[in-house]
């Protein structure tokens, strides 16, 4: 459903992403991993239109996305979360989800007035459902900035889900989480996928990626150096060198400990 072909982004002389080819199939949890600065976040920003590509194409459901602004890509079905959480801190939890009611269904079925100036019963119900899924019902009137870290992550996840995306881009959702929170997150990611959403997961935390992803691509210096199942990738020599250096004596493996 998502095809990146020859996708490149150069910042001056730095090739942040270089000739990247990736195919994500519908219904998949796809992991994108790589060391710091390998171009993972840049790739996400290219897919959702925050950056303009230097070369190459982004196709979503066969449709060319190049040149489309972020809000149009969202309406086409691509939603995202951010590496460093970006909520609307001085809006309430409920308002954060209210602002995000921009799914194509919402736009098609609501009139201008009810969309901008009212809150239909269906909108209220949808937000209530999102709050419930995020375990945030009791924080509905709280300012987003008053939430605990894990709650902020869950709210951002719910906010992305509010647009009813077909593809969800998660940019390091496990950053700063403890083990229990990571397990909770993998449950949420799987539940999202089971409801029909394809997931592209950019992550550092191996425990999460290796646990949930079915396909993985590994980036280094903006280029894809390996891809395949989690097992394939863990055994791949180039990947081990990228992560752990080229010394091959008793190098620790990319074992998840699971």
């Amino acid at each position: 459903m998502l095809e990146l072909r020859g996708l490149s982004k150069h910042f001056g002389g730095v090739k942040a992403v270089d000739e990247l080819d990736i195919t994500v199939n519908e219904g998949e949890i796809f992991g994108l991993i790589g060391p710091n600065g390998s171009g993972k976040s840049t790739t996400i920003n290219l897919i959702c239109g925050v950056y303009q590509e230097t070369a190459g194409t982004v196709r979503f459901h066969e449709e060319l996305m190049n040149g489309k602004p972020p809000h149009q890509r969202l309406r086409a079905g691509i939603a995202r979360t951010f590496q460093n959480i970006r909520l609307f801190p001085n809006l309430t939890v409920w308002q954060n989800l209210w602002v995000a009611q921009n799914s194509p269904q919402d736009i098609a079925t609501q009139g201008f007035l009810s969309r901008w100036f009212g809150a239909t019963r269906r909108t209220r119900k949808e937000i209530a459902t999102l709050l419930e899924l995020a375990d945030l019902e009791h924080k509905s009137d709280e300012l987003a900035s008053n939430l605990a870290f894990g709650e902020q992550r869950r709210l951002e996840f719910a906010r992305a889900a509010a647009a009813r995306p077909k593809l969800l881009l998660l940019d390091e959702p496990a950053a700063g989480m403890n083990r229990q929170e990571i397990q909770d997150l993998s449950r949420r990611i799987r539940r999202m996928r089971d409801s029909g959403v394809t997931i592209l997961l950019v992550e550092h935390v191996m425990e999460l990626v290796m646990g949930v992803a079915e396909q993985i691509a590994v980036l280094n210096f903006g280029q894809k150096i390996a891809s395949g199942t989690p097992g394939d990738v863990q055994r791949n020599k180039a990947v081990q060198e990228a992560y752990l250096g080229t010394s091959d004596s008793d190098a620790p493996s990319l074992d998840t400990g699971a």
Binding site: H71, L74, L87, V99, F117
Partner: protein, 304 residues
Amino acid sequence: MSYYLGLAQLIGIHTLLGLSAYVLMLTGQLSLGQAGFFAIGAYSAGILTVIFELPILPALLAAAVIAAFFAFIVGFPALRVKGLMLVVATIAFGEFVRLFFFNLSWRVPRGDIEVGPDSTNGFREIRYFVANGWSPWEITTFVWTFVILVMIALWWMDRSRAGAVLRAVGEDELATQSVGVNLTAVKVTAMTAGGFIAGIGGALYAHTATYVDHLTFTVLLATFAVSYPILGGLSSVFGTLVAVIFIQGVLVEGLRFLGDWRNIVFGLLIIIAMNLKPDGLFDARTTRILRRAIGLGGREKSDA
């Protein structure tokens, strides 16, 4: 008495000016061009009642639409730049408008005199209220009708999804785009609404003052426009109203006995106020305390 009515009219008109900046500031944009839209409203309405001899109400609405139209046009290029660059761009626009009216001469004979904008000499014959025998009370009521209508409209908008989206844009543009909001559309709409409100204010100003010239619409007026919502805070439209009463009623008028020294006191009080209340006199916390005090929606959920 007429002194106080005149002051009430001035406070109402400046509230409209401040609210025009308030709408834009919700989206995080600081415009020093509001005096330009105010000027367009003032001159347009004046020309419509004086040269075209329209009644005040259609003239005022047409002037507001004209100001909104220019805000819409200016919105597209201006909102491509942010922060200081936007401030500079909007100052340039305001000066452009001022210098346009500085040069505009459109005199038509009326009886044995000529009326209309007379470039550097100003536009001196905006006498609709006097000619139609409106009392100061009627004029004041007329002005405040518009102030109250605009405040109700904005207060209602603020509580709707539109208000939440404006504030979301002000907090994080990238995140707002990423949840599917068309940023350009929202910002240009806010700019247009701001132009409309400033246009009403300008139209009322021209007719209460009966005389305008380009010097009325300098950057100083634009600075007043943004200082009201800055001082009053962005939690609600009432902050802007209170700030106008404080600045125009207490500082500008109340300190008149100090002569030219009042400008120093004025500056000093603003600095003190901003230091004590960096998010405005009516920041989120104060608003919440006040609401609870008058038993209005102070519902607080505990962290249970």
